[in-house]
Each structure stands twice: as C-alpha cells, then as structure tokens.
C-alpha cells in the first residue's frame, strides 16, 4: 500500500444537471448555451410532460421553468414536481412583476422567482447560490 495500491480518488462533486423548461425556442437555446458554458449538464424540455419525465428519471439539481408552457402553466408544473421531489431547486421565470405572482410561485414550491428580462450573470449567480444553499426564499 505504501508504494502502490489504492490511491484516494478526489472525485469532484460538480456534476450538476439542469432542466430548462421553456417553449420559446430562441430563449431556451440561449439559456441552454449560457448554462453549458458554466459547466452544467443541461436538458432542454419544451413541455411540462417531458420535464416530469426527465425529473423522475434523472434527478436534476435545478429546474428552470417558464411560466408559460404549451401543455400547462409553470406554477402547476412546480406543484406536481414538488409532490415527489422536495430537494430539487426550482426557478420560475415570468414577466409578471406583481407581488401576488411572486407569492403564488413561492407558495407552489418555487425556490426563486426570476422576472424577465434578466442579465446572464444574474441567472448564473442565482443558480450557483441555490446549489450552495446560499439563497433564501424570495
């Protein structure tokens, strides 16, 4: 062992999976590109149904959900995901700046409510903070 044998593997725990649930293609593409550049493993999912499939099968770390999806509202999707997934971090993206909208999202189980439009770096820092447990409910 002293000269050869098992050597400690310092496996970097940085494999993080993110689902982007956005039906507008160019917005989705942009988000995927940004997050891939940051080293995340990113799934693109245009519908609520496919988000649920990916979540159940691959246990993502973060889900970024647009309020408007073709098959369901983002807030309803969050409620369904939360039934079986307490640990995953969820960000709801919406253009609605009202207090009620934010409150509803947080009550549904969202970890962060992000108002469109937003800066690239802001999204990146929010995700990093959520993964490291630095962000409180907003």
């Amino acid at each position: 062992m002293e000269d050869e044998g098992f050597v400690k593997i310092n496996l970097k725990d940085d494999f993080r999976k993110i689902i982007i649930a956005e039906s507008v293609q160019f917005v989705a593409n942009s988000l995927v590109r940004i997050l891939k550049e940051e080293g995340y493993f990113v799934f693109q999912s245009p519908t609520g149904k496919s988000v649920k499939f990916l979540t159940d099968n691959y246990k993502p770390d973060v889900i970024v959900i647009s309020e408007r999806l073709p098959d369901m509202r983002g807030i309803n999707l969050i409620r369904e995901i939360r039934e079986n997934n307490k640990g995953v971090k969820i960000i709801l993206i919406s253009a609605d700046e009202s207090f009620e909208a934010k409150q509803n999202a947080l009550l549904a189980g969202s970890d962060y409510y992000l108002v469109k439009p937003f800066e690239r770096d802001f999204l990146v820092s929010i995700i990093a903070d959520l993964l490291s447990g630095k962000v409180n409910l907003q």
């Binding site: 062992m1 044998g5 098992f6 400690k8 593997i9 970097k12 493993f41």
Partner: protein
C-alpha cells in the same frame, strides 16, 4: 545554512551579562586599618595568599595553583571526555531535554575555560575572570549540576558506557558546585583570588550578586555547526516522512471508509444493490453462500455490461452516445477469470448439501474458517479467489481514474450522463464508475478479502507512525519552527 545556523543560535541563545564586583581598590587607611586584618583572618584558614605587613603587594602562593589543578584533575577530568560525545550525539536521545543538553554545553564551556586557566604558564586575569564567571553562574542553583549529572547518566546508559566507577565520578561533581563538603572549596579559591586582585576582603555572598532565572535556553540546542547540520537534515527527513505517511494514511482512511467493513459499518451500497434486484438482503443474509453467489452474479452482470456492451449515454450537446466504459483488454482478462471462478464455485455449492451459515456469524467469527465444515471450507476457498479477483478489479478501476486513463477524461467528466442501468442512471460516467468501485470494495470488506483487510488494518500502524514522527519533529525543532519554515522556503520539503 551558515546564515541559518547563526540566526537560529543567536535567536535562542541566552545573553547573560558578566558578573560584576565592587572593583574599587581600597585607599591607604582603609587597607591598613580595616581590609588587611580581615584578609589575614580569612587567609589563616587556607593560606593561599601571602599578605605582607608593610606593603600592599599581595601574592598568590603556589598552593593556590596546586589546588586549582587538583580540582581540575580530580573532579573535571574524569567526566570531561564524555561531554563532547553528548554535545555531538545527545540531541538524538528523546530522554535528554533541550535544557539538559544546553546545560551540558554550558558545563563543557566551563570545563574548557578551566583547562585554559590551569594550562597557562602564569595565571591570566582575563581567563580566570571568565572561568569564575561561568563557574558562579553555573553554581547559582544546584539544579544545574544535577541536570548535567543526569544527562551524563542518561547518555552513558544509552551507550552502554555506564558503570559504578563512572557513577562515582559523576556524583563527585555535585559538591564541587555546592560549596559544601569540600574544604577548601572552589569558592574559597575565588575568594582568595579576588582578595589578591582587588586587595580587599570579600564575603561568599559577594560572589552571588546576580539574578538569573535560568542560564540556558530550552528553545533550541545551543550546538556546534556540524550538529546543527545534522539536526536540519533530520528535520528535513522527518518532514518528508510525515508528508509521505500522511499520504498513505489518507489513502488507507479513504479505503477504510469506502469498504465500510461490518460490524462497525453497514455496507449500504451492497444492500441497496442487492435489494434493487428481486431479492431481499434481510432474508438471504441468513445463508452466507447463497447471498454471496447472488451478489457475485449481479456483479458479473454489471461487469459484463461495462466491459463488453455499449452503455447508453446522453451527451451534453444533446445527442445520444454509446461506448464501453471499461474498454481496456486487461479488464476482459480479469473478468474471464472471475467469471470462470464464479461458475466453478457455484457448481461446487450446488453439488454440496451444506448447513446454513449466516452472514452475521461469518462477520462475527474472528477466523472465518472456524465456522465452516469441511465441504463449506472448500467452497469458501473458492470464494477467497473470487474476492481476490474483485479486489484486483477494484484496483484497476482505481488506477483508471487516478491516472486519468478512463475513456472519459477528467476534463470532460461532466459532458455525459448515463441513462442505464438503474443504479447509475442520471450519473456522470465518473460517478458511475466510482459507484461500482465502492460496491466492489464493500463486497471485499463485507466478505473479508484478505488483501484489503490487511491494508485497512495497516491504518492504525500508519497513524501511530505519523504521530511518532510528529512528536520527534516537535522534540528537535526550534520553538518557533524557524528551521522548518526555512526548509519550506527553500523548497526542500
């Protein structure tokens, strides 16, 4: 290193100011009407001085020089020969403290000065004063000579040079510095000399006009340059050894944690792997052989998939991708051996009617062989071979990751995600391979693979060695670790 030597020695050396006396020579009336009578009265006792009545030219008699030489030859000379040995080698002894070593150095300086004084043709005031200064500082507390005597005993005993004669010589030193038991004493010589030199009467108490808490430092060895170089070399070696042992300890601790050896730890990885099939760990653990063969079957299925079949992955760029995770030919050879051994073991198990032995009994047994009957032992011998194969497979996987020779390079570790099999679904290839490594190691730990168990058992010895090396380093290092810091700065450790 010369600079470092001077810096360290100066930093820790005690700077003691020289002893001072009332050095005023008395005037005419004081001398003739007071000092002369006192001096003559004192001199009646030992007669080292010649004090004329009509002149102030006091002289030292030859008996003074003779007494001085006798003290040296009777008390100092017998032990003098050991002092240099202690100075050169004493620092290696853990039983000899830094303070004791430095007292020996101080005592050796005193002895050298004594020798200088008696070897000079005529008594030299400067030399005598230096000698007197050292002697009086050293004799300020009895503890100093006691410590030197103890250091001599420790050193001589550790070098098999100790005997009754040496003990007598060492014991003789103590009264020399106490001023009692010997008449006249060294202190009487000093008094006589000072009376001779300053032409006035002194008392014993005049010789102790100093206030030092300690005459030597306990912070580092006040050693010669050659010894200092040896200490630096030893510190360098210890630092390298500690670094090496820490690495070994880290690896062994990691291995121990990963193997999760029962009964202290539950091998959760195996349990969940086992239960993920259509089997129950809790039910099957009552039959050791059946449980083991079922686990091996599951492991072989996974190895077959990892070595021979393409694993389905999703690429982070969106596309699917397939490749063999363990695509090295050496895995195939080892797999074939394990595969053959497994079927031979299973065949032997199937053809033998055996009573059941539970996994708990196996784990509790100090010697596994003791709980099996003859036919079970023959199966268990085959199991040992299988476990060795699993251990070798684990080592190969370990090397694959450590040397970054895995099919997915470390820099691309987050590019892919596995979509099957179930237990690693959603993991990166690195995470998946690590999962199997942990599973294999837990099998080795749970079923007592000899090689891995031996390695894990080494941990206690390594931890003890690390602690010993740290203790030794702390013992010989200077108080502020100046030497260590310099070695690090020079990139030597």
């Amino acid at each position: 290193m010369e600079d470092l030597y001077l810096y360290v020695i100066e930093r820790y050396k005690k700077n003691l100011s020289p002893l001072t006396f009332d050095e005023k020579v008395p005037g005419f009336f004081n001398y003739y009407f007071r000092q002369a009578a006192l001096m003559r009265r004192y001199n009646e006792k030992y007669g080292f001085l010649k004090i004329p009545y009509f002149s102030r030219s006091i002289e030292l008699k030859s008996s003074f020089h003779a007494a001085l030489r006798n003290f040296f030859s009777d008390y100092i000379l017998p032990v003098r020969k050991y002092l240099d040995e202690i100075i050169n080698k004493g620092w290696r002894l853990s039983s000899l403290s830094v303070r004791s070593y430095n007292l020996v150095v101080f005592f050796a300086d005193l002895c050298k000065m004594f020798e200088t004084v008696i070897s000079e043709r005529a008594l030299n005031h400067k030399s005598f004063l230096k000698f007197e200064d050292l002697f009086l500082k050293f004799s300020k507390t009895e503890d100093n000579i006691v410590s030197v005597a103890e250091a001599l005993v420790i050193y001589l005993k550790s070098n098999n040079k100790f005997n009754d004669d040496v003990m007598i010589d060492i014991e003789k030193l103590k009264p020399l510095f106490s001023g009692s038991m010997i008449f006249p004493s060294m202190f009487d010589l000093f008094l006589s000399y000072n009376i001779f030199y300053y032409k006035k009467h002194f008392l014993y108490s005049d010789l102790y006009s100093m206030d030092y808490s300690d005459i030597v430092s306990s912070d580092f060895y006040n050693c010669p340059k050659e010894v200092f170089d040896e200490i630096v070399y030893k510190i360098e070696s210890l630092l390298k050894e500690i670094k090496r042992l820490e690495k070994v300890r880290e690896n062994l601790q990691w291995l121990k944690d990963l193997t999760a050896i029962p009964p202290n730890t539950l091998p959760e990885r195996i349990v969940s792997f086992y239960d993920s099939g259509e089997r129950s760990w809790d039910l099957d653990k009552n039959d050791f052989f059946k449980l083991f063969l079922n686990i091996m079957q599951g492991l072989l299925e996974r190895l077959d998939a990892l070595i021979y079949k393409d694993v389905a992955l999703i690429d982070s760029k969106g596309g699917g991708n397939n490749f063999k995770l363990l695509n090295n030919p050496s895995f195939e050879l080892l797999y074939q051996k394990i595969y053959n051994d497994y079927y031979q073991t299973k065949a032997r198990f199937m053809s033998t009617v055996t009573s059941r032995v539970s996994l708990d009994d196996f784990i509790e047994a100090e010697n596994p062989d003791s709980i099996f009957n003859e036919s079970q032992i023959s199966i268990y011998e085959k199991i040992k071979g299988l476990l060795k194969g699993i251990s070798e497979m684990s080592l190969k996987i370990n090397n694959l990751i450590v040397t970054d020779s895995f099919i997915v390079k470390n820099s691309e570790r987050n590019r892919y995600m596995l979509t099957s099999p179930e237990e690693v679904k959603g993991k990166s290839p690195h995470q998946a391979v690590y999962y199997y490594l942990e599973l294999f190691l837990q099998v080795c730990g749970c079923f007592k693979e000899e090689g891995i168990r031996k390695e894990v058992l080494e941990l206690d010895r390594i931890v003890s060695n690390v602690n010993d090396a740290k203790k030794e380093l702390s013992r010989i290092s200077d108080r502020n670790n100046l030497i260590e810091k310099k070695l690090v700065e020079l990139g030597k450790v």
